[in-house]
Symmetry: C2
Subunit: 308 residues, 2 copies
């Protein structure tokens, strides 16, 4: 068992809610190298030969198993780029717990770009959880630019649960999904920015197979002078349906722009989009404050509820 | 009184629902020239000296009056560009009935670009109706590219009611609105395309004044191989609220893309967007057909209801 330092352990608690342990299938990347890794009977992790990253093979007999692949960057000035490819066989049922935490105590930018691709076999059921988090007393920026590519065969089910907790100064998120017949996609994106942070999230869902369906829920809170831009795009190329919902709360001097695109290219494509941007519900604030809370406490509770 | 030919009269019936008459304030533009025009006590129309078009002065004592400014193009191969500027004094209450119809019996493209600007005084109430229509047995395209710029002073109310009836092969619509304090904007856009027609509608609403509000409703039907793209943008720079709703029905092999943008740049800006694209409601179709209608009749009734 590899021994982990205090900073790494603290960050793992933030980004791996299920509790990171060195057992089963796992891979802990620390400052650009695999600190420890393990396989299980059904899940094999192989280091890539040609570039940084791993290939994860999940066989069709996997049932309810978890794979943990957290990333910790605590060297200031580090730029870490990693390519992780998941090959999920037909019929597998798996939960993948990723996430990246940056601790920056220096004055240089620390950055992690995780490029993940998921090849999801027929009828497989994948849950992918990803938490992003930044901390550290340094002035150096904490930058996270995830790219997520999902290729779904027929009858596959994919749940993407992604959270930016706090402390990420700049993020550009790119998500691309191609959906086969009768496949189902669920996306839950939660994002919080504060101070002068910037966040951009681009998402493109191509519904290519008859009977495919997608539900995208995005919730965000922008505080301070932070800025957020959302650009979800849902394209219906077959008999399909999609529902995209983006809700944002703005506070202080923050700015949020939501630029969804829905595109029906097939007679039987049905696509709905809803977006709302506004301030915290005043009635809720008043109600909580009459219960004796301060304005900050009341705001905190409303925001926690909104993001959870 | 100017004598009008049969084609012009027929087109006027399509584009001027209130009934065009040569009385009160009016200006009929025909193949690039003013065929007839008149002023009223409160509304004066002046021909521009420097470019094609007219200036329309509406004084503050105008109460419930109509101005009719239809455009008819029936010369094949004609490209008509016109600049119409409206100066609406504080407190005026007026309905402006515009519209353009193209009859193209030749093989060359006929095109009308109407660039309209509205300077709306404090507390004025303006209703602007615009109908677009194309017809003619020729193979030449019928093209309409309207530009509408609206500048609203405080407490102004502007209703933009715009309809593309049918027969327009290509249209690019640009609408820009700047809103002062407590001003109110209502937009109703209805658009029907068929065959290989293309339609693009870009709209940008800048809510600059506290208390401003905007309601935008867009409804469209795309038949045949036609394509439509909608890009409404609502920007909240002050305490304001906006509601943008786009609903489209696709038929046959048509394609519709809706790319709204909502952007909150102020803590007290509240902006909501909703969009839906889908095929005709099957239950309604079945219900109407059990009443003895053919599929075409039933579709026609559903579409008429949707667009009215």
């Amino acid at each position: 068992m590899a021994l982990l330092d205090k900073i790494t352990e603290k960050i793992l608690q933030q980004i791996d809610g299920s509790g990171f342990q060195q057992k089963g299938a796992y891979n802990l990347r620390h400052n650009g190298v695999a600190l420890c890794h393990g396989d299980s009977e059904h899940i094999k992790i192989k280091k890539k030969e040609d570039k940084p990253g791993i290939d994860i093979y999940i066989d069709g007999n996997t049932r309810g198993e978890q794979v943990h692949i957290p990333v910790v960057v605590d060297a200031s000035g580090m730029k870490d780029e990693v390519y992780n490819d998941f090959y999920i066989d037909a019929g597998a049922d798996v939960t993948i717990i990723a996430g990246c935490g940056i601790h920056n105590s220096g004055c240089n930018e620390s950055r992690h770009d995780g490029i993940h691709s998921f090849h999801v076999g027929k009828g497989a059921n994948v849950r992918y959880e990803e938490k992003h988090y930044g901390e550290g007393e340094g002035t150096g920026a904490r930058v996270l630019n995830p790219v997520t590519k999902i290729y779904m065969k027929e009858d596959a089910v994919f749940t993407l649960d992604t959270v930016q907790i706090k402390g990420v100064d700049s993020t550009v998120r790119e998500t691309e999904v191609e959906m086969g017949a009768n496949s189902k996609l669920f996306v839950i994106e939660k994002l919080m920015t504060h101070d002068s942070q910037n966040a951009e999230s681009n998402m493109e869902i191509q519904m290519n197979g008859d009977g495919s369906s997608a539900q995208i829920i995005s919730r965000s809170v922008a505080k301070g002078q932070s800025r957020q831009v959302f650009h979800p795009k849902a394209v219906g190329n077959a008999k399909c349906h999609a529902h995209v919902q983006c809700d944002s709360i703005i506070m202080d001097h923050a700015e949020v722009a939501s630029i969804p695109e829905i595109n029906a290219r097939h007679l039987d494509a049905a696509i709905i989009h809803e977006a709302a941007i506004g301030r915290i519900n005043d009635e809720q604030l008043v109600k909580l404050r009459t219960l004796g809370m301060t304005a900050e406490e009341a705001e905190g509770i409303i925001i926690d509820n909104f993001l959870n």
